[in-house]
């Protein structure tokens, strides 16, 4: 497939919650093989956008296309083979075993009469290897730390063998070490497996460091979309976040870094 093909796109999607428009005629394109971060202030519609992209909210108007096909008319299992989603809010019984939870990622690839197929077991072993969850595969979820738990959820998503991975604030509630660990993992999955990543991040500097492209949202619209260098500027930060900030460039990576100074 061509490198620049659009894998996921939204055309004029409009989402309302009660009477309020949360997404206003939003159009976006995500190219195959990219890491795209979505940033924006609270209430700007980031989570609504990725819930819509992941068919959890049906937009009032507009289309969401994956590889050119409308995800709302595709069989939901078929979508799950190509797109994995990890939302921020989730619950799960504490006594479920790590390996079992990860194995649910294979659900879309099985028919209901199939049991534990070797192919599935191989994929599960591979994801556990990749996410370093193998060491605690026999433990119940309730016994894990926040960072370990997050890796397990990513492992589950990875077991779907998706082309697109959608993450909602994957680093929230983690300490800085585990934040980096998760972002490194996501980045390496993108580089080695070619998985397109779409994620909501809160930390502008992390977004800058780990993304090929950043999408800034403001009041239900895309304010700007582009490379970190194009997007992370004094003006954008001020306009979107109402914060005066200095933007410097990292002397090692060359990526923009922002130091927030004060509220405007």
């Amino acid at each position: 497939m061509k490198k620049n093909l659009e894998i996921l796109s939204a055309e004029n999607i409009h989402v309302k919650y009660k009477e309020k428009a949360v997404l206003k005629d939003l159009t976006l394109n995500i190219k195959k093989g990219r890491v795209v971060s979505i940033i924006g202030p609270n209430g700007s519609g980031k989570t609504t956008l990725i819930r819509t992209l992941s068919r959890n909210i049906k937009p009032e108007k507009g289309l969401v296309l994956m590889n050119g096909k409308n995800i709302f008319s595709l069989n939901t299992k078929k979508v799950a083979k190509e797109m994995a989603v990890l939302m921020q809010v989730r619950s799960c019984p504490n006594d479920i075993i790590v390996r079992d939870l990860i194995s649910y990622g294979r659900f879309a690839h099985k028919e209901w009469w199939q049991g534990k197929e070797t192919k599935d077991q191989e994929v599960i072993e591979w994801t556990m290897e990749r996410t370093r969850t193998k060491v605690f595969e026999d433990r119940p979820i309730g016994a894990l730390s926040g960072g370990e738990m997050q890796r397990v959820w990513i492992a589950m998503a990875l077991a779907q063998k998706p082309q697109v991975l959608i993450l909602d604030e994957p680093t929230t509630y983690l300490d800085i070490c585990h934040q980096l660990e998760i972002l490194e993992l996501v980045k390496s999955l993108n580089r080695t497996e070619g998985i397109t990543v779409v994620m909501v991040l809160h930390d502008i500097n992390q977004a800058s460091r780990y993304s090929d492209e950043i999408l800034v949202m403001k009041e239900g619209e895309i304010y700007i979309q582009g490379t970190p260098k194009d997007v992370i500027t004094k003006e954008v930060i001020k306009e979107v976040f109402s914060v005066d900030a200095r933007v410097h460039y990292c002397d090692q990576t060359g990526m923009p870094l922002c130091y927030p100074d004060k509220v405007v």
Binding site: R51, S54, R55, N56, T76, K77, K78, V79, A80, K81, M83, A84, V85, L86, M87, V89, R90, S91, C92, P93, D95, I96, D100, Y104, G105, F107, A108, W112, W113, M156, A157, Q160
Partner: protein, 195 residues
């Protein structure tokens, strides 16, 4: 019907419960009205509402057997889908589960199984409240074991309660529904406190 009433662009447990309470109150009013107008024939209705397995025999078993087997055959293969459904709608949908259909289907099967059982033994309400929760406490939340576990443990609980009801104050036999409620209500409150 409760499912339809509780539907509003999606389903929420709280709304199902409230809709259920409202429907129960409405139908309960109908029952009360019937009992007032036909108070001469109230005994049968009372026995039904208390529930019990006295005087039930093989013909009753044959009567509900097809429904039970049918229900089990549908339920058991659904275990993995239920395991995924408890992860929440968004996660389940992300994994490729048709959330609305599975929930509607399982609700229908549950109602069907409950109705067939109730048609024979009457309203033994507390079995349904105590048993699945106790089984979950004992063997965990994997539906592969929860479904058969609940079925077997439910049968056992009813049998023991019935034996107790028949023998405890012999020769007087207390309705097994009363025993279940006396055991069930405190246990239910304990569960509420626990969460």
């Amino acid at each position: 019907m409760i499912y339809i009433l509780a539907w509003r662009g999606g389903i929420q447990p709280m709304r199902i419960i409230l809709a259920g309470v409202a429907v129960a109150a409405f139908l309960g009013a109908g029952i009360s009205a019937l009992m007032v107008f036909y108070s001469d024939r109230i005994h049968g209705a009372l026995m039904f509402m208390n529930g019990g397995i006295s005087g039930r025999s093989w013909p009753h078993v044959w009567m509900i057997l097809p429904y039970t087997i049918g229900g089990l055959l549908i339920t058991l293969p659904m275990a993995e889908k239920m395991n995924i459904l408890v992860l929440g709608d968004d996660v389940a949908r992300g994994l490729g589960l048709n959330v609305e259909w599975v929930r509607l289907g399982m609700t229908a099967v549950a109602a069907f199984l409950a109705a067939s059982a109730v048609s024979v033994v009457g309203l033994l309400g507390f079995v349904g409240l105590i048993v699945p929760h106790s089984v979950r406490l004992m063997i965990g939340s994997d539906y592969k074991y929860l479904f058969p576990g609940s079925a077997l443990f439910g049968a056992a609980v009813v049998m023991y309660s019935d034996t107790f009801a028949r023998t405890a104050f012999s020769p007087v036999e207390i309705p097994v529904g009363v025993v279940m409620a006396v055991l069930g209500a405190p246990f239910f409150l304990y569960l509420l406190r626990r969460d």
